[in-house]
């Protein structure tokens, strides 16, 4: 009996749940620090509900880790259609939040289906690429069907309008097709096309506030008290942390409420202000460990579906982390993309739990066969 238990735990690769918990620990402390002084807005107890979401997500992750990866494969398209349906529902009857329809309210639960859509897309892609000519290098012809699978949800999300998440779907998709050996020639052509369509999009497809964000990105000081305000304050917060930071709970930018949304999109700025450059190095290494471990897993599984799925899961979290850090530090325009495990938000946390659960399940199966 005892031996069986030991065997069971031996199968477990705790690196995923371990690095997830480590980042979460940093995240929850940072969230507490960012919001502790905002009692007047009722934000000071946010960390409690974040904790609750973490435990829910951890339980979900563990439950999913017991499933056989073949189950994911079987239900890949179902998951895709289901999440797509939820995104469609939001378009029909979503609540207006921050001027955009992103939330779906079911009784006491408010969810953001575009979060789940990412997972649905990854599942569908993994399934498609393993079933249809898995050995072939991708060219334009092979991209038509996958293109449709990604464009339908991407366009719907962009129409919500949530340009950030819509672009994210495309980024995740591009990372997956890159892994699925997209021809270098096609990559070059696609690069040219996306630059061109970007220019067209800017001129004809963007809303005024979205265009303004790009202007602000290029020169935040041009509109320092309007839309550039966040960008400047964020940079001040980061820079003022210097090498070692101001210390836990000592962020003046946060406590003075300079940074709006400092519990969601701008948590990374607060972290930098309090823990400085060395703190950020530590945090980024934690993220890197997590991503590298996932890539390693993708190359050491027996089944191709598992491999593509793990790359997909990895790219979801990579793009979130990278875009968020880049926008907060002024490398990218400000779009509403949360930092996984650090930003406050239940839906995002749950997606993370599902992803980690799947990765663990795949890793367990691998160990079982070894």
């Amino acid at each position: 009996m005892n031996q069986r238990l030991v065997d069971f735990f031996k199968r477990y690769d705790f690196s995923f749940i371990g690095s997830m918990s480590a980042i979460f620990l940093v995240g929850i402390l940072n969230l507490y620090s960012a919001t502790h002084s905002q009692a007047h807005e009722g934000l000071d107890s946010l960390y409690k509900s974040q904790l609750m979401w973490f435990f829910i997500s951890a339980v979900v992750a563990i439950c999913i880790s017991f499933l056989n990866p073949k189950t994911f494969e079987r239900f890949s398209y179902v998951g895709y259609v289901l999440t797509l349906f939820l995104v469609f529902l939001v378009m029909l009857m979503g609540k207006v939040g921050m001027g955009a329809q992103r939330w779906l309210v079911l009784g006491p639960i408010r969810m953001q289906p575009s979060e789940f859509m990412k997972m649905g897309l990854v599942l569908a892609m993994a399934r498609f690429f393993t079933k249809v000519n898995p050995e072939v290098e991708l060219g334009f012809k092979e991209l038509i069907l996958p293109g449709i699978i990604v464009m339908v949800p991407a366009v719907m999300v962009i129409l919500q309008p949530d340009l950030g998440t819509g672009m994210l779907l495309l980024f995740i998709f591009s990372m997956m097709i890159f892994y699925k050996r997209l021809k270098w020639k096609t990559i070059a052509t696609l690069g040219v096309i996306s630059v061109l369509s970007g220019v067209l999009m800017y001129n004809f497809g963007l809303r005024e506030y979205q265009r303004k964000r790009i202007h602000t990105f290029i020169d935040p000081y041009q509109d320092a008290r309007g839309s550039g305000y966040n960008a400047i304050q964020s940079e001040i917060a980061i820079g003022s942390g210097r090498l070692f930071g101001k210390g836990f709970k000592n962020s003046s930018q946060a406590s003075l409420n300079y940074l709006p949304e400092n519990h969601t999109d701008f948590v990374f700025a607060i972290f930098n202000e309090e823990h400085g450059f060395f703190g950020s190095v530590f945090l980024i290494i934690l993220y890197l460990v997590f991503f590298m471990r996932l890539i390693w897993l993708a190359t050491s599984v027996q089944r191709f579906y598992d491999s593509v799925l793990v790359v997909g899961i990895m790219s979801i979290f990579f793009w979130h982390a990278f875009i968020n850090m880049a926008m907060v530090s002024g490398l990218l325009p400000i779009v509403g993309i949360p930092l996984p495990l650090m930003s406050y938000g239940g839906s995002s946390m749950l997606t993370f739990g599902v992803g980690v659960g799947m990765a663990t399940s795949i890793s367990n199966t691998r160990n079982f066969f070894n």
């Binding site: 003075l256 409420n257 300079y258 590298m292 530090s329």
Partner: protein, 653 residues
């Protein structure tokens, strides 16, 4: 074909590339962080210390409201509340004793307030004293260091100078509620926010888009605790950023006269009802008062539960406007319109006589006149003067109800006057078609008899009655009543001006109609036999009609019961509608007093007080001339009394 494991293997090169890409991406982020935190670290650190600018909303002052003669009616006044934040309170007893001395309050009383609010979060400020004086304010500011946790909250309060006077007309402002928010955004296409104050009633609601300004933005420098600093450090990153100044709301000038409002309000002391007065040559509303009333200032400060309870538990409903939002049976004031209809239709002329015996058997039902012994031989002028029911019932019986309705509607009854104030009621003038639609029954001739004297289905508001009588006075012109004269911007430039709007001009078939109706109305007040003779006032030469509307259908045995002996709830409503001066009319007014019993004793004095104020203020010469005319009338009466002591009309209808 490849096996699964081979498939994974041939993709390994791409996986390796991916790991390079990811490392490079984070390397990019780290180099940016190095640039910000190390290369520019000192500079940005200094900014974060110096630059404590915070974006704050500057509330735009709401526009002011003036009366027609430029007297300020609604103002914005800064008010100061002393607040205590328990979180920062040190040496509780000592501090509270000091505070109690400054505010001349008992320190136990302060403790009681704290105790009452002890269940809320410690960082929430508690109001200790509202509306402190400048002296108290100065003491608190100077002793700031000795009073930890005590501060002063400044805000702009909407002040209605005359409190309850004209509250229904002016309305009030209050915070946008959560449920209103989406509707307002949809309606005005404006970005309302919680905490915004908007007009919710009366003029404040109707002219909200002018009165409400545009909020500004301000950058305030704050200390580490987030409190405002007294000096502004200009040497910071945000140099060159200018605050966005708030745009004050526009000022509004009403057609209302403040002095007449006060006169009307005082004349209605202890009464429940409304009075409205309009300029007959333009439709400008000069006075609009409804009592009981409420203090609109209370709403802009956030209603106390006690005040709100006192308003909604009051049986007389102080929030209800009696002039445009309620309608009543007009009673005998409607007889003038019955007279006009019958005269115009040729059913009567000035010489037509009816013998009133005190009651009239129509079919099997007896229709009573208010005067038990009857009026005897009665012509039109006498019928109006003495308010004979039988005369008008017999006149109305000669025509179909639809003919009567046609004239009543032409004079503005039975439909909204179109005054630019929210929630006006329409009143009701029944027609045979209406009855069929509403009850599915044919019109009964007996119902015409009740309608002829303003009972049964007929309903009218005071603003409709005033408009109708203004038309009688000015020869048939119906103007849309209005309350706003001009809108000015803060520089005093005229933005919008409202001009009289002639809705219709009634063409009278018979040129004598209005002449005899007016003569009758004149005698109501100025003939010793008129129903309002004893309340005629001085120097206004008023013409008008009293009215008494039964609240409940009176059974035959109660027709002549003394009204004052009945339960308050079943007492008649009292009305008076009139215009003045009778020979050169300028103003028309209508008043209702709920359960006031007699039009003459309850309602006439209110109209008289308002018109007297008007004549004294706007037409003093005519007022003096009319005082003389009044004197002549009175002297003639006394002479006639000496010659043959006639029995004066005692009763009122």
């Amino acid at each position: 074909m490849f096996g699964e494991e081979e498939l994974v293997k041939i993709h390994k090169d791409r996986a390796t590339l991916l790991s390079y890409i990811i490392t490079a991406a984070f390397g990019l982020v780290l180099s940016r962080l190095w640039y910000l935190q190390v290369y520019k670290g000192e500079t940005l650190h200094n900014y974060s210390i110096q630059n404590r600018l915070r974006k704050e909303v500057v509330w735009a002052p709401r526009g002011l409201i003036f009366s027609r003669d430029d007297q300020l009616i609604v103002d914005n006044i800064p008010r100061f509340d002393v607040i205590l934040t328990p979180q920062f309170l040190i040496n509780k007893d000592e501090t509270l004793v000091k505070l109690s001395k400054i505010l001349s309050m008992d320190s136990e009383a302060i403790k009681a307030i704290l105790k009452k609010n002890s269940n809320q979060a410690k960082y929430r400020p508690i109001i200790i004293k509202k509306n402190v004086t400048f002296k108290e304010l100065a003491q608190i500011e100077t002793q700031n260091a000795d009073l930890p946790g005590i501060s002063v909250n400044t805000f702009i309060s909407r002040e209605y100078r005359d409190k309850e006077i004209g509250a229904h007309l002016l309305g009030y402002i209050s915070e946008v509620s959560q449920t209103q928010l989406p509707k307002l955004r949809e309606r005005d296409k404006m970005d309302y926010r919680l905490g915004d104050f908007i007009g919710q009633f009366g003029i404040e609601e109707q002219l909200d888009k002018y009165l409400r300004g545009q909020n500004g933005l301000e950058f305030v420098e704050v200390d580490a605790r987030g409190r405002r600093k007294r000096y502004i450090n200009t040497d910071n990153l945000f140099k060159g950023i200018e605050a966005e100044k708030p745009l004050s709301g526009m000022n509004v000038k009403l057609t209302i006269d403040r002095d007449m409002q006060i006169a009307a309000y005082n004349a209605m002391e202890g009464k429940v009802g409304g009075i409205i007065a309009i300029d007959i040559a333009s439709g400008e509303v000069l006075t609009m008062i409804s009592r009981p009333s409420f203090d609109p200032s209370q709403f802009s400060r956030g209603l106390t539960p006690e005040y709100w309870r006192s308003l909604i538990t009051n049986k007389e409903h102080p929030l209800r406007d009696r002039n445009i939002q309620e309608h009543f049976s007009p009673g005998s004031t409607f007889k003038a319109l019955t007279g006009i209809a019958a005269f115009e239709e040729g059913e009567i002329d000035e010489n037509t006589e009816v013998n009133c015996t005190g009651k009239w058997m129509f079919g099997r039902r007896a229709y009573h006149c208010w005067k038990k012994e009857g009026h005897g031989a009665t012509n039109l002028v006498k019928a109006i003067r003495e308010s004979c029911n039988v005369y008008f019932q017999k006149a109305a019986n000669r025509m179909p109800i639809d003919a009567l309705a046609k004239y009543a509607k032409a004079f503005g009854l039975g439909g909204r006057t179109g005054i630019s104030l929210p929630r006006e009621v329409a009143g009701l003038i029944p027609t045979s078609e209406w009855k069929k639609k509403r009850y599915g029954q044919e019109w009964q001739p007996g119902e015409t008899l009740s309608c002829a004297i303003g009972q049964s289905y007929v309903l009218a508001s005071t603003i409709q009655l005033a408009t109708a009588y203004a038309a009688i006075a000015n020869g048939g012109k119906i103007y849309r009543p209005f309350v706003v004269k001009d809108v000015y911007d803060t520089n005093g430039e005229l933005v919008k001006t409202y001009t009289p709007e002639l809705l219709s001009s009634i063409q009278m078939k018979n040129p004598k109609t209005l002449k005899f109706i007016r003569e009758g109305l004149f005698q109501v007040v100025n003939s010793p036999k008129g129903t309002a003779w004893y309340r005629r006032g001085q120097g206004i030469l008023m013409a008008g009609k009293t009215g008494t509307a039964q609240v409940k259908g009176a059974s035959a045995d109660k027709v002549h019961q003394k009204c004052e002996l009945m339960d308050y709830e079943s007492r008649h409503h009292a009305l008076f509608v009139g215009f003045a001066p009778a020979d050169n009319p300028k103003i028309a007014a209508a008043a209702i007093v709920e359960h006031g019993c007699h039009g003459s004793s309850a309602a006439t004095p209110i109209v008289e007080a308002v018109i007297t104020k008007y004549m004294q203020k706007y037409h003093p010469e005519i007022y003096l001339q009319n005082l003389e005319k009044d004197k002549t009338i009175k002297d003639n009466w006394i002479k006639s009394l000496r010659a043959a002591p006639a029995k004066p009309a005692v009763g009122d209808e």
